[in-house]
Symmetry: C2
Subunit: 197 residues, 2 copies
DNA sequence: CCCGGAATAGACTGATCGGTCTAGCGATTT
DNA sequence: AAATCGCTAGACCGATCAGTCTATTCCGGG
């Protein structure tokens, strides 16, 4: 029986999602076979198919987990580091830079998902769009709190910088692009809000 | 016998690369089977394996073709549209915007390749790095001709914007991000070189 | 203590994967 | 006319794919 707290999924299910997410990140979605996930998780085949209708459903669950993990951790870090909305906008790049510097960084999981599922209607691609939209909303909120005239425009601009930074770090294996992106963001915010401090 | 002009590869080989490239762009590398390429190209199985040692080699050939096509077309368009280096830097975004607006646009093929081949040592990933490096060199050259103090920094900044723009267009299916990226580029170039025109 | 649900190992399916091999066709060259 | 070449169709290989089924074991609650 499920002994977890109310609303908490079975431990086996969580473990499956975590393992699958790690493998999907490193090797991609098509290249990661069900057998590999089972071997890495040490879970029986039927346990997977009792918890998920198909591999595709497991992929979606893994993407939802990644969205939750990434956004939660980003907001937590950003808010613990800086107090003012303006500095928090810039702190986003510091958090991402540290993530991109960690060994095993494989770029943005959602960008990678769109690479493998190009169809805009594909559930995986749609989920990636939703993730970017939610991240954009967070940035927009910070920009609004910072007194920006057009927080939506700021959010879109910073989103472009973030995506470009993650791709730059992924392709070169060096997080230097994230630092450059932050510098550009400083220029943009300065132009919109006046010099920070 | 090969009746083409000197240095020209067999027509069948070219056709194979073109077909494979189109399929890789749309469906990805792992998801595109050899059978699909053969069916789409109407070429016999052994013709593929007489021209390429393996599917991996065909993938590399397709990526090399894409690098050649993309950079050649970009430079051709940019140079036919604008005369001054500064305006040419900005024209890059117009050309990319048009590409991203075309139906069937699936993002940057090299970013997508890095998504499927995360290992930095992987030939496909390395080729993507080389492509970005060559594009960066072109931008740097334009920036130098435009009289930039630090053309390398400009090139890296514009590269981040380009990558971010392509990802934005890919995820949302809307080329609006490319226009925003151009606007950011204008701001950056203005700050480095003074107002254009 | 015993029952029921969850998890297990592992055989099994049909399809597809990348890649090899063979036999023959058609045109070109000598 | 014979030999050579690129190309063809299609059988075939072992491996792997996602997914199903069965039979067994484990464990917590009544």
């Amino acid at each position: 029986m499920n002994t977890g707290s109310p609303g908490m999924a079975t431990s086996k299910r969580d473990h499956l999602v975590d393992t699958a997410l790690a493998l999907f990140k490193e090797h991609g979605f098509h290249a990661t076979g069900v057998d590999r996930i089972l071997e890495a998780s040490g879970v029986a085949r039927m346990t997977l198919y009792n918890n998920f209708k198909s591999k595709d459903e497991l992929i979606l669950a893994a993407l939802r987990r990644q969205d939750e993990l990434f956004r939660n951790e980003l907001m937590r870090q950003v808010e613990s580091r800086e107090e003012t909305p303006l500095h928090r906008l810039l702190a986003i790049f510091d958090v991402i830079s540290e993530g991109a510097s960690r060994p095993g960084f494989c770029g943005c999981t959602f960008i990678n998902a769109c690479a493998e599922y190009s169809d805009l209607e594909s559930p995986a691609h749609a989920l990636a769009g939703e993730h970017k939209r939610l991240l954009n909303a967070y940035i927009s909120e910070l920009a609004r709190d910072a007194g920006a005239e057009d927080p939506e425009r700021i959010a879109q601009d910073l989103s472009i910088l973030i995506d470009g930074a993650m791709v730059g770090a992924q392709v070169t294996g060096d997080a230097g692009a994230v630092a450059r992106a932050k510098s550009i963001a400083e220029t943009l915010l300065e132009a919109s809000l006046g010099a920070p401090r």
